[in-house]
Symmetry: C2
Subunit: 333 residues, 2 copies
DNA sequence: CTGTTAGCGCTTTCAC
DNA sequence: GTGAAAGCGCTAACAG
């Protein structure tokens, strides 16, 4: 009598049966770790798995191993140019160590807690928090503490973090302006609730003051291109020698509104500085002087956290990535 | 004697114990589906869950329910501007129906099968395949057939698909060129191995021929900005009245190399047409005439597939999304 | 080295 | 409406 073909995917029990061994042996033979199995049986198991087209159910496995090879990337959203430069590379690297990425977009709402609570995300091996809507307290509550890496500039809860050393780049940018005789400046900022943004703005103000440049206006954007265009309409711009934007996207918006005055006229009506050093700024259309950091180094640190969290921790909770200033047409007189 | 505080997260058993009910009752009370439980006990369970800070382990749940509320988004990579316009919105919508997104980037390799086989991705509820490296046979093998939505232009295996009706937009673009007296054209293409690309190129050729425009050269890029710049160096461009690119990114590269001749000179050295209608093309720097489709409609169809696959299937396996042509400075004489 | 046994955390029969 | 018990697929502990 023929055994009725089981429905659905073959399980490890099917493999074991076909190979004529116990489930435990099959499990060991199929394991990626070295486990004691005789060469003979291992081969039979592997063969059986092959003929059955067996694929392990990683969900079931994770139930006992307590590890899913899944990392959550928690972001506000992905629609900035600077995101493109970062996330593709990041995902690629994470996958290269055998983990996969679940993207958690928390938008502008405060729903993050609910999100994580009701989703797989809560059970991932680690969470990379780029979103600054995820405040430290929430994140601490949500995950086992040492599996969370703060990439959003928040430092107040002792969780490990990687933060670009923005001061260096900002100091260089402001020094560049001072050198060119800038006396008055406007600062175009992102959402002020963000910790990174507060620190960033603080650095700008300190550096401006140090060089005796007076800040004649501070305008609130939201990092986006559109918000850059919006603030660019202000009449206050007539009096500014320089405009510093805390994102390249906003600087692009500003540049488009004042394109003629900035790229065609000499002397320029004002010098323009961005932040992020997006790839697009390297080309003709948006030659914006900017502040960047080495994404490769940044990502390498994230990977170090993912693969050897202990080592990462012991080396200290905070890793700083150096930033640099790059001068382009938008700030050349 | 005090019960020793259990390690790790509270399980449903803990909740049941605290509430003084069986695990089954606790499970029902906590279920999102309506299940028979007395109001009294439900309340006690909910209360217990709250005080314990209980969060269900969705991996364990999925073992019995066979559903994880996880959808895989399979892409080549995400570094095109057009990706930004699409994925942020897509992820947001998917999350809004209670599912989360696992991003599988297959890069340029053929490792997709291995990827999916060894990862959670294989156990997702559905896979949205944007990558054209995932050939139909592989995908069919990997997933239960009806849980795969082909968004990469491949149609050969009877899997459901959503495809923009590119012909309409292309016909309009070429007609626009013809109307302006274009007699010769160059076509800048993406990777020719892609099915979408082959169809797209076929449409361009047919339309050019129909209008008696002769195709004097076909140049191979890879959709990227950089590849656009690369091909833009060709001397063949002297003889072309128009250049059609199968991506806006490539058109942007072309535009930057010929910026002066295209935006400052009248008459232009050639008319430029892109494809994708990226958001950035709406502004001053890259005013590229382009072909686009309504992302909102597109995403709505994807969501329809996700939430009511049966209905989606019964309505036919292929959904076409309309495209449009938008005329901008790059093609104005 | 091998097989048996006991779970991982949850849902779901199936009797009561 | 309720609870005992079985079981999803897998791995780990423990004897042999």
């Amino acid at each position: 009598m023929i055994e009725p073909r089981k429905l659905g995917q073959p399980t490890i029990a099917d493999v074991a049966e076909l190979a004529g061994v116990s489930r435990a042996i099959a499990s060991r033979a199929l394991s990626s770790e070295p486990r004691p199995v005789s060469a003979d049986k291992r081969e039979r198991v592997l063969q059986a798995a092959r003929t059955l087209g067996y694929k392990p159910n990683l969900l079931a496995r994770s139930l006992t191993t307590k590890t899913v090879n899944l990392v959550a990337v928690v972001v506000n959203h992905i629609h900035d140019l600077s995101d493109l430069d970062l996330f593709d590379h990041l995902i690629s690297e994470i996958q290269s160590i055998g983990k996969q990425v679940i993207f958690v977009r928390v938008g502008s709402s405060e729903r993050i807690e609910e999100f994580l609570r009701n989703g797989i995300a809560y059970h991932v091996d680690a969470a990379l928090v780029f979103s600054d809507f995820a405040n430290a307290a929430t994140v601490r509550k949500m995950f086992r503490n040492d599996s969370v890496l703060m990439l959003n500039g928040m430092r107040d809860d002792g969780a490990p973090a990687i933060i670009p050393d923005e001061l260096t780049g900002i100091a260089a940018a402001v020094a560049d302006a001072a050198e060119k005789g800038v006396r008055t400046a406007i600062l175009v900022t992102g959402r002020s609730a963000s910790a990174v943004e507060q620190a960033r703005v603080g650095h700008y103000k300190a550096e401006l003051q140090r060089h005796g440049i007076s800040l004649i206006a501070e305008m609130r954007g939201d990092y986006s291109y559109q918000s850059g265009r919006r603030v660019a309409a202000s009449p206050a711009w007539q009096k500014a020698d320089a405009v510093f934007c805390t994102s390249d996207a906003m600087a692009m918006g500003v540049l488009d509104v004042h394109r003629n005055a900035l790229l065609e006229n000499k002397p320029k009506s004002f010098l323009l500085y961005g932040f992020d050093d997006v790839t697009l700024a390297e080309y003709e259309a948006y030659p914006i002087s900017s502040i960047g950091y080495d994404k490769t180094v940044y990502i390498k640190e994230i990977l170090r956290f993912l693969s050897t969290p202990k080592e990462f921790q012991s080396a200290g909770m905070l890793v700083q990535v150096p930033t640099y200033f790059v001068s382009r047409t938008s700030s050349r007189k």
